[in-house]
Symmetry: C2
Subunit: 341 residues, 2 copies
Amino acid sequence: MGEEVKNKQVILNDYVKASVKESDMSLRTSTIQLRIPAGCDDAVLVKNLYLSCDPYMLLRMKKLEVDSFQPNSPISGFGVSKVIDSSHPNYTKGDLVWGITGWEEYSLIRDQSGLFKIHDTDLPLSYYTGILGMPGMTAYAGFFEVCSAKKGETVYVSAASGAVGQLVGQFAKSTGCYVVGSAGSKEKVDLLKNKFGFDDAFNYKEEQDYNAALKRYFPDGIDIYFENVGGKMLEAVLNNMRLHGRVAVCGMISQYGLEQPEGVHNLFNLIAKRIRMQGFAVHDYYHLYPKFLEMVVPQIKERKITYVEDIAEGLESAPNALVGLFSGRNVGKQVVVVARE
Amino acid sequence: MGEEVKNKQVILNDYVKASVKESDMSLRTSTIQLRIPAGCDDAVLVKNLYLSCDPYMLLRMKKLEVDSFQPNSPISGFGVSKVIDSSHPNYTKGDLVWGITGWEEYSLIRDQSGLFKIHDTDLPLSYYTGILGMPGMTAYAGFFEVCSAKKGETVYVSAASGAVGQLVGQFAKSTGCYVVGSAGSKEKVDLLKNKFGFDDAFNYKEEQDYNAALKRYFPDGIDIYFENVGGKMLEAVLNNMRLHGRVAVCGMISQYGLEQPEGVHNLFNLIAKRIRMQGFAVHDYYHLYPKFLEMVVPQIKERKITYVEDIAEGLESAPNALVGLFSGRNVGKQVVVVARE
């Protein structure tokens, strides 16, 4: 028997109907044995260090046909964790991993197929919830694989200071594209222009007419749209796309909290401009992860690429941090520190 | 000077606002010299034999930024014509051509870059407005190039008895796919099942709930949707697509007559199911036309592929035939015979 310890957890109270409020979650303290139970093969027991707040999590809080979180149970998401005990031959005590874990202090992970071992610990461990983890791979796969971006093309990124957007912008610049981002505050717009090197940026909350805003920044139209928000912005973008444009559909954060998503009325643009619009999921591209690290790690170390995180301290702050995503309160990738080691 | 003859024409009275009525067009008789005017190089003068009624023509009747028809002038479209006089070295009197021509008895075509010479006259000449012309190439490019269809996949075609749809269904069968089509009458549904060899077909006008209808015909979902109609049907299809599905967006005929097109509210399916949705235009694929003919001509001659036309007699019937497309009155490809030789 291992030591029994208290295990603080973030619980989903009940399915969420539209947008998520802090009161949809609660903190609970249960207990856990710090050893894998007998007969539980191929499992790992981890101490959670960093948790990732990601927009898709709101969808899992709703009652869906598949993949919903369970009410009255801890929610789960991407995180960085330290292995405390393992019954799987590939993992031993002390290993650091990133992947799907529970929103709690300690997690028993019975299916370790969603975990990646962390080898390079020269960089901040929290980066494995962001630039070196799922959002980084999402930006990489979406921009290079889905969009087939070419030098000289014009690129628009929405939610551009977020976990994924800030990287897409930097990849676009290093590819020789013209890139403009939108975000929801002056502070974020400054970050886009001054820290991430976007050619230009605007605060969508200050624009009455997205169509007019996009025409201003893209007088000759948009070749590539990296879609993170959906709804009215997507509609405006379709009006401003160029012939043979590509839309990588990564997320639609503006729609997740609506009971009825907004309608997009101008899909005829797909025909008129021969646009390819493609949804993708990072899971389909994980085989490229080693290649991605090979590219991105040296760029981080040489400070050619930068990454901004918004760190919330303590598991207690996790519900608030997650909810903040949907009002755009976070500046950069929203991370929750549960423990630093 | 050539002989001067009367030239009946179909005139657009004024820009069309929403749907098109017969009274938006009128017949006018002007005169034309049956010889190319002096100084008019690289032109052809043709006698029009068959005219093609195509849904996109309604869009050109509206006031758009580009490509609108001119009020008080003859409209134009695809057709089959006989060369009467030529100042272009590639064409001589007696040649048969298909491509963009006027809705009139005789046309002076100053830009012959949109014309294709007809070499094989063993098949009905009217076929060059359909299976051997633009609609045939559209079905071919959309199904084989845009959808990357594979044996064993499930295919849904809307407006399936139309100029393009009837071919997509037959291409799908010859590729080893399961294909279901929808159309707007019992007669058309019978045609799909009994003449074109669709695995199944339904009358969309008899369905209260497109979602339920699609679930009935595709219990395991749709791999490929050949989109001809848009709006509510597209929305229902997105709910029924499978992972990694593809939507070739060819047309949206249900939307062309609306002042405000219907909104599509469930584009999130593109992410959840990693769907590729791609608009295309046949112009981008004309380099494949010889390869297409090589495939399709023997199949027609061996009766492995069939094509149904709806023939209207005389230029006077052209406005009525065109308008009929939008209520689905035509059965098969709508053609207007101006002259048989």
